[in-house]
């Protein structure tokens, strides 16, 4: 059915809005999931009581430290602002297009490596592509669903110099060093990051360890061609 006319109302988001909203999000503290009171909560309550009783001069810096958002997304996402290695900033407007893999491969300036093996039951989703203006950072993002979940995501960034990853364990993916990270805390997400040296692209595979094991994640990465 020809339904192209119904997309007439779709419009690009203003880059200024994208950047301003992201900057505002950085100032919003994360709301912690509520759990029953255990030993850790008891300690927190004690600390909060001390804070509440403290003088403003002491209380303010303590609260500021506690309320600093843990998730400090790389630079500013949506390619709006990226902090590079030299701590300079690259600003890129947000323009996302949604493609299938063949369309994506036609539009990017490097050979896109994709898994040739996946655990059973994973279905691919669309690819979101942000094509960078000259000299800026681009991003390609996609995921695989299983039922109601997205247990696996692939993000590709280029040029790779804009990506900075923490290192927990170094592993080898197709002859190249890769960083394996298991995030502490409630999410527990696991990820592999490596740089395709010959292409100057950074690949990040992120998985829910309840659905995809570390071994499976390594296997998926190893089959990327």
């Amino acid at each position: 059915m020809d339904d192209k006319f119904l997309r007439e109302l779709s419009e690009a988001v203003r880059p200024e809005f994208t950047q301003a909203l992201y900057a505002r999000l950085q100032t919003i503290p994360e709301r912690r999931p509520q759990r029953g009171i255990g030993p850790a909560a008891a300690v927190i309550l004690t600390v909060m009581t001390i804070i509440a009783c403290a003088t403003p001069q002491i209380r303010t810096p303590i609260l500021e430290a506690i309320e600093t958002p843990i998730a400090r997304v790389i630079g500013e996402p949506a390619m709006a602002i990226f902090r590079t290695a030299g701590n300079t900033e690259q600003r890129v407007p947000l323009e996302v297009v949604y493609l299938d893999i063949e369309q994506a491969r036609e539009r990017i300036p490097f050979p896109l490596h994709f898994p040739t093996w996946l655990p059973d039951g994973l279905e691919p989703t669309q690819i979101a592509l942000v094509e960078p203006p000259e000299g800026k950072i681009g991003m390609l993002s996609t995921g695989w669903t299983k039922g109601d979940e997205i247990p696996l995501r692939l993000n590709v960034w280029w040029p790779a110099g804009g990506i900075r990853m923490q290192v927990e364990e170094t592993v080898e993916i197709n002859g190249q060093p890769a960083s394996f990270v298991r995030e502490p805390g409630a999410s527990g997400l696991i990820s592999l990051t490596w740089v395709q040296q010959d292409e100057g692209t950074a690949y990040i595979l992120t998985a829910n360890p309840e659905r995809i094991s570390k071994d499976e994640l390594l296997q998926i990465a190893a089959t990327m061609r």
Binding site: L6, L9, I150
Partner: protein, 181 residues
């Protein structure tokens, strides 16, 4: 080009959550924005409502990350609630209608520009039932699949497909009839 080792030596870091949210922001901001853009007739309001959704999502990101569930379902549930809250305010009902009527008057002059095409579509969408309009909005504004829409609205996927097929057919006929005048 920097090597991974050089990148690691920068001393800064990004966690999987950070990477996940960077991707989510890039991918879903336009979808949420256009979800509201199909409901309201001015970009500023669409931006304001989009901001509310992302602020809610951002505050609760740890709750979502805990199970890495269907992100679009979670995010658009927030968006639907924000839309309901917006239109629940009495003064919000009339402006939508008035905006549509105003846009319709403008569109008489020239049906060839995108702005006027939009005006036509807004008028026609405003004439649909709330359910039909929401399905169109989720499909073409938010870019969701029928399966995602079904999950979100609790209609069956078949029902979503049937309604959309019928409504899109009727709208297309309106579109073609108008073009053919």
């Amino acid at each position: 080009m920097k090597s991974l080792a050089e990148i690691q030596e920068d001393g800064s870091h990004a966690t999987p959550t950070e990477i996940f949210w960077a991707a989510v922001y890039a991918e879903y901001l336009p979808r949420v924005y256009n979800y509201f853009n199909y409901w309201v007739s001015d970009a500023m309001t669409a931006e304001d409502l989009t901001a509310i959704v992302f602020e809610k999502a951002w505050r609760n990101r740890q709750r979502y990350q805990a199970n890495l569930g269907a992100f679009s379902t979670w995010l658009f549930t927030l968006a639907r609630n924000v839309a309901r809250d917006y239109f629940r305010q009495p003064q919000r009902e009339a402006p939508l209608e008035e905006a549509s009527k105003s846009a319709a008057q403008d569109s008489i002059e020239d049906v060839l520009t995108k702005r006027e095409n939009q005006a036509r579509l807004r008028v026609w969408l405003a004439q649909r039932t709330p359910r039909e309009r929401e399905l169109i909005t989720l499909k073409y504004g938010a870019g969701l699949t029928n399966r995602e829409i079904a999950r979100l609205t609790k209609y069956s996927e078949t029902n979503v497909g049937t309604i959309l097929h019928r409504v899109v057919g009727q709208l297309r006929k309106q579109w073609e009839d108008h073009d053919g005048r």
